[in-house]
Symmetry: C2
Subunit: 440 residues, 2 copies
């Protein structure tokens, strides 16, 4: 059980080695990759005392250094969390194999056959903060999908990450696989070097704060999967059911305030505002939510005894990640759509209405990965969508968009097999035609 | 019939307008988008005299300015080419509608339904050199797929592009659509401004020289679809049929030397080299192909009267786009794979062998959008793959990869509809479970 040490001058060489190891991994049958996952699950269980001890030491130092409470909670890995992570490894083994799927099978001409077959991306670079169990999940997804992975955990979790990687390497070696498939980096200098390895790393997955994700996006030419902001909206339409609207808003704001799928701004049709906002303010007050409002909302709620801070342009652009909600009244669904398309981050936005035509207009015209009708935005999540495990949530327009499962870790190749077919046969006066016949 | 003039200070505003117009377009049914294409086809036919006259003037000036012959050939738009472009508009109308396709339809819980539905990307920025007929093809693909498009043609084709855009606008107006869906830029300053419009443009498609594509890739944060280099390889394995190998190599090198899917380097197994290279050199000589070789190939062919320039490291990295072929001998299929994965541009690489196991290893391990067995690399093309029309060929790893049809112009959204479903119901001691049942 040894981790592979990494020093900067060697990083390129080591990334190449991970790439080669990943190519071997990609050719293995599903069963072998799943055997590796089972061996990793067992190795993690066997190494539990060392892993928990390493994490306890990380936590002790974090406390000394006064790590923020939220980060500390993410850092802490107890026996229950570790068991959950180990169960997660076995769950990933149960997912459908994303490799070798034939997406297109087409005869181009007699004996000239095109197939589009899924294959791994190659090497993933994953940079995450604090949560050591994220390392297990990502390494497992990478191995299952035939990818190599270079991991960089937070500085505060370095002992935990080393202990976990050590166990993962032991599991890989147990079934005769090259441990170079999973590599751990430990310094910030290595992170910067990783972002420059565009010849060897095919996808960067940053998991951390908005500022951190934005830093990664701006400092690499490697494709980045993820999102910086999660500025989600809920729009209460004129034709909303008031009680539904209150329950959904409370859930979408308060059930996990720091989650990316939590709403930051509530849009309310002017005609229903007097019927819904006072009750809603009462409900949100019991959850200690600070409200900010546009002038109309300030005026309306002041008549019910609430003094709201004015919501400014800055509020519409802000992901509070906290128990704060800005409220704006609009004249129509078009007004809501325009606000969302201007200030939203293309993550998840919902409408509450009993009018299906209005809902359809909203869902068609709002430009977001998720458009929700009469349900909480908090369902925007890979597990809840039934993807088994989530790599991250992407707010880019090009696929993969929204919550991404293993789908985001595979690509495809076009395989063309012929029998001496040359292109010149298909041009000129006696040109052959393509048959373009889809096969089974 | 008027084109919409664009000046730099207005570009942001105009891109916004194109975005809004595209949102309206996206909501139209297939038939309406197809009616627009038919109206455009008719308008182009009606405006043929003006279009051909504008092109003749572009050509006259290009001749005066001594435009390179290859570019001049691309610039020239005669009646036959224009008819072909008009037929292409009607062909695109026949393609399956890429919008509104339900990729996932899943019950998450009773009454909580997830759908993943394809939708347009939004606004495309397309920058192309010389070929005015490319404008027609791209505008047609954009309209069919519900996208707005901002086009920038080559300076030398400005009159042709204006005349074509004018006809396209007339066609759009004929069926009551906002002509702002298709917008033409004419100056280099506007191109630079376009690359900065990441809030309004969702995908940049550059069509031009390698240097130009690389410039675009390095000067925008908008996703870029395309490829800079097309460094394709053919590997003649020990177990190749010599006559096949010669015919395929000649086709892959000579049928269209400047195409991106033409090979630049031939790899030959050392054991078969004496049997294939002398005959191959004879065959390539009749096509005036200049050969460059590694030391072994120089020595071998010199015994047959050929004096080859030494192929250097630089040769392995070069897309000649010309009748030049570099040749290298390798000891095994692994040697060929290693060379391709080091120097290739992930475009298209082929193997010639009668040994299926060797072919499989090659196709699994070569990292390219296209891996070909016993056929010419020249088949790597959207039309030949049966995609109907091609947006471009992508050499990125993430999908869309390889030849891209309309698929590259659409994305998807997750639609979630519920009936007052809140996330809090799914946590805690009495948590509901998700059903995750795929529907119809």
């Amino acid at each position: 059980m040894t981790t592979i040490p990494v020093s900067i001058p060697d990083l390129t060489f080591q990334a190449q080695e991970t790439r080669e190891a990943a190519r071997d991994l990609a050719e293995l049958p599903t069963e072998t990759r799943n055997q590796a996952l089972e061996a990793i699950a067992q190795a993690l269980a066997a190494a539990a005392p060392e892993i928990l001890a390493a994490n306890a030491e990380d936590c002790r130092r974090a406390e000394q250094e006064g790590l923020a409470k939220a980060l500390y909670g993410r850092l802490k890995l107890d026996a229950v969390k570790l068991e959950g992570a180990i169960a997660g490894v076995r769950d990933v083994a149960k997912l459908a194999d994303p490799l070798g799927s034939v997406q297109i099978h087409r005869e181009l001409d007699d004996g000239l056959i095109l197939k589009r077959i899924t294959c791994p991306l190659g090497v993933l670079g994953v940079i995450f903060e604090s949560r050591p169990d994220a390392l297990v999940q990502i390494a497992t997804l990478a191995i299952r999908s035939g990818n190599g992975v270079i991991l960089k955990g937070g500085r505060e979790a370095v002992r935990s990450c080393e202990a976990l990687t050590c166990a993962i390497h032991a599991g890989l070696q147990q079934v005769g696989l090259n441990p170079a498939v999973v590599r751990l980096l430990t310094t910030r200098q290595e992170t910067l070097a990783l972002l420059n390895l565009d010849s060897y790393v095919d996808l960067i997955i940053p998991r951390g704060s908005n500022v951190f994700v934005r830093f990664v996006q701006q400092n690499t030419r490697i494709p980045v999967l993820g999102h910086a902001d999660g500025i989600c909206h809920l729009y209460i339409d004129q034709a909303a059911d008031v009680q539904k609207a209150i329950a959904l808003t409370v859930d979408a704001k308060t059930s996990y305030p720091s989650a990316c799928n939590t709403i930051e701004t509530l849009l309310v049709h002017r005609a229903i505002a007097p019927h819904v906002l006072p009750q809603l303010a009462d409900a949100l007050q019991t959850h200690a939510v600070e409200l900010r409002g546009d002038a109309a909302t300030q005026a309306l709620l002041s008549r019910h005894g609430y003094t709201l801070q004015q919501a400014t342009e800055e509020d519409w652009k802000t992901e509070y990640s906290d128990l704060i909600l800005s409220i704006k009244q609009v004249d129509s669904v078009e007004g809501a759509i325009a606000h969302i398309n201007t200030y939203g981050s293309r993550h998840t936005d919902g409408i509450i209405t009993e009018d299906d035509a209005t809902a359809l207009a909203f869902m068609n015209r709002v430009d977001a990965a998720g458009v929700f009708h009469n349900c909480s935005t908090r369902f925007a999540d890979g597990f809840r969508y039934g993807f088994g495990a989530e790599v991250g949530i992407s707010t880019q327009k090009m696929p993969p968009r929204g919550p991404v499962g293993m789908e985001g870790l595979v690509t495809y190749k076009y395989w063309v097999t012929g029998d001496d077919h040359i292109s010149a046969s298909y041009t000129g006066p006696n040109a052959r035609s393509f048959t373009h016949r889809d096969l089974g």
